[in-house]
């Protein structure tokens, strides 16, 4: 965060423990909140809001995955599968059993968390590559289950339609109303994550990531910490699935395939492992990449190519860029966009007196 750390004095414990002890970041947060909740909705077109909604949901999902991969060091290639668990649980509860959408949301997250902890059990015995492959198996098995388990309805199409949620009789229909809904949830998610790593549990997660054996020796129950991390990450994934479902008005498992899991991993790699801000950066970057590239090539290529020719090459270039950027970041800047941002803010921390 934009930050100047000079001349901050703390007089009470409460001040010392504040999330943002220095005054400038506090104002920055207020300005950002004002920007996102007042200015953006006022000036944005319907289209921009639609994109913003997708970015918000993706950020929430990436944040959850980062808690597991970036902070606890447990890799998961099954994040999207847990999203589908949340999506189907909430859609079934709300549209078929007629429960309130809020309950459906929490139940969706809880169901995903439960399954996530189940998948996390092997993490006691195995780690690294083995864990990666067993979460890959979880992804494929959950996909298969949603397709075949008889108690999951949705007909042959595999999709459950549901009415969009309404708050105090006001139905969320427009992109604007969903914008508020999604961003309030996102802010809650971010605040929770920021605070989590100021607690005993959060610190234990980081300890397990950095050196698990040492962590065990100083008395951290590794198994419990790992399982909790799986649970929390999957809860976030479940809520992400629920958000998609409420926003689209339908739960469909094809939105949560292996490719999507990999995309979320790419988000946190490019954004920065072990960083809340990085998760958001990565989600925005990966989601906007194809859109911006498409619009750019359409503008530039439109001068000398047919529409259909542009379309034919855009997608291949997009795939190459996507893969290439993942590799480039891993080789050149393993800490991701967050680090680049850090470099900029660090520069301004002491600007204009770099000798201080």
């Amino acid at each position: 965060m934009l930050n100047r750390e000079t001349a901050t004095f703390k007089r009470t414990y409460a001040e010392d423990m504040a999330l943002y002890p220095a005054p400038l970041p506090r104002y920055t947060i207020l300005v950002l909140l004002f920007l996102f909740f007042v200015v953006v909705p006022l000036v944005s077109s319907e289209y921009t809001l639609g994109v913003a909604n997708l970015l918000g949901i993706a950020s929430f999902g990436a944040l959850g995955l980062n808690l597991l991969v970036g902070y606890t060091g447990q890799i998961s290639i099954g994040h999207a599968a847990f999203m589908s668990v949340g999506a189907y649980t909430s859609a079934m509860l709300v549209s078929i059993m007629g429960l309130h959408w809020g309950l459906g949301m929490i139940a969706g997250g809880a169901a995903a968390a439960f399954l996530g902890m189940l998948v996390g059990i092997p993490s006691l015995r195995i780690k690294g590559l083995y864990l990666a492959i067993s979460t890959l198996a979880a992804q494929l098995i959950i996909e298969w289950g949603i397709n075949h388990l008889p108690f999951i309805p949705g007909g042959a199409g595999g999709s459950i339609y549901m009415d969009k949620p309404s708050i105090f009789g006001f139905q969320l229909k427009t992109n604007l109303s969903f914008y508020y809904f999604i961003y309030v949830v996102l802010v809650i998610g971010i605040v929770f994550a920021l605070n989590l790593f100021r607690t005993h549990l959060g610190r234990s997660m980081i300890a397990v990531r950095d050196r698990d054996i040492a962590a065990e020796i100083i008395g951290i129950n590794i198994f419990k910490v790992k399982l909790t991390a799986f649970g929390i990450a999957s809860f976030y994934a479940g809520i992400t699935g629920v958000l998609y479902t409420y926003y689209f008005g339908v739960a469909n498992y094809e939105a949560f395939t292996l490719v999507v899991s990999i995309q979320f991993l790419a988000m946190i790699i490019i954004g920065g492992l072990g960083s809340v801000l990085g998760s958001v950066f990565g989600a925005v970057f990966i989601s906007l990449l194809p859109i911006v590239l498409d619009i750019f090539l359409r503008r530039v290529g439109g001068e000398f190519m047919e529409e259909s020719q542009i379309a034919a090459i855009t997608t291949q270039i997009q795939l190459m860029l996507y893969g290439g950027l993942i590799m480039l970041f891993l080789v050149v800047e393993p800490d991701g966009l967050r680090k680049l941002w850090r470099n900029i803010t660090d520069y301004f921390k002491v600007w204009p007196f770099p000798y201080l």
Partner: protein
């Protein structure tokens, strides 16, 4: 009864082909501890080179194979030099993501240069089935299985007998000591990637002919994981045995489990089997039992 035997034999033949892909994977893991999620894309890329030179340019088969060998060697060297060399010793997440990024990159490149439509790799092999005591066998798969076993035999010999193989085993055992003993670790990593590229050419010929070449061909890479976990990540013999077991399990699941469940279980059972193995014997049937416990 006949049907059951045919199912078994089919499973074994397909399993040999899985083993072929798993071999490339094991080779790289053994030498450099790198988990190659792009193994399927390697096979796909080799298939594209073959199909393009056979179909688009009408070259004879041996020239096409030669081109594929050269192409895959260059590709493997480039990949090793530009990306994966930097990944050695990095965390699992980084290594996995680097090869996943490589996979996406290869998909895009193949689509851009070779076109995205399905191509085929014609081989001069008869498709007429052979009947052995009434048991139906297809010559293509017999040849393919033969090719797989020849490859596996060569690689095994290479690892056990040749000087390069001994160096590779030394590196796999302890990188630091190997360095101290004067083994050029980077060179040998490059060599192991080249060998994996060559195995991908064989995979590209066989699988490309069986399935047709397009970007979907890369999906055969997903078959690798149950095979190598079952057999043990760093064991060549494990890749063979794991491949055969998975092949038979799949075949039998499709024959017997499908009618009961009322859906396809063939691609799902290997993963269940794999999870059971992970629970009780994480290093697989033949792997080195030095899994780090916490």
């Amino acid at each position: 009864m006949l049907y059951n035997i045919e199912l078994m034999i089919n499973g074994l033949l397909v399993g040999a082909l899985y083993a072929l892909i798993a071999l490339g994977f094991v080779l790289i893991y053994k030498a450099s501890d790198i988990i190659n999620f792009a193994q399927g894309e390697f096979v796909m890329f080799a298939g594209f080179i073959l199909a393009a030179s056979l179909q688009t340019y009408g070259l004879p088969l041996y020239v096409a194979i030669l081109l594929a060998v050269v192409g895959m060697t260059v590709l493997a060297l480039l990949v090793n030099r530009l990306v994966l060399q930097y990944m050695i010793g990095r965390g699992v997440v980084s290594v996995i993501m680097a090869t996943i990024g490589l996979a996406a990159f290869l998909q895009g490149t193949a689509g851009l240069f070779f076109g995205i439509d399905t191509k085929d790799v014609p081989l001069p092999i008869s498709e007429e089935p052979i009947f052995l005591y009434d048991i139906l066998l297809s010559p293509l798969e017999l040849y393919a299985a033969l090719a797989a076993f020849v490859c596996i035999g060569l690689v095994s010999w290479f690892f056990i007998k040749s000087r390069i193989g001994i160096a590779l085993r030394a590196i796999a055992d302890d990188q630091q000591v190997s360095l101290a003993m004067g083994i050029d670790v980077k060179l040998y990593f490059a060599i192991s990637w080249c060998v994996a590229g060559l195995i991908a050419v064989v995979g590209g010929i066989v699988w490309g002919h069986l399935l047709g070449v397009d970007t979907q061909l890369a999906l055969v890479g997903l078959k690798v994981f149950p095979v190598v976990i079952l057999g043990g990540l760093d064991s060549i013999i494990g890749a063979i045995v794991g491949g055969l077991i998975i092949g038979v399990v799949e075949s039998l699941a499709a024959g017997f489990l499908d009618p009961i469940v009322g859906g396809g279980t063939k691609d799902f059972t290997p993963y269940v089997l794999m999870i059971i193995v992970l629970m009780f014997r994480p290093y697989g049937l033949f792997g080195k039992a030095d899994i780090e416990r916490v």
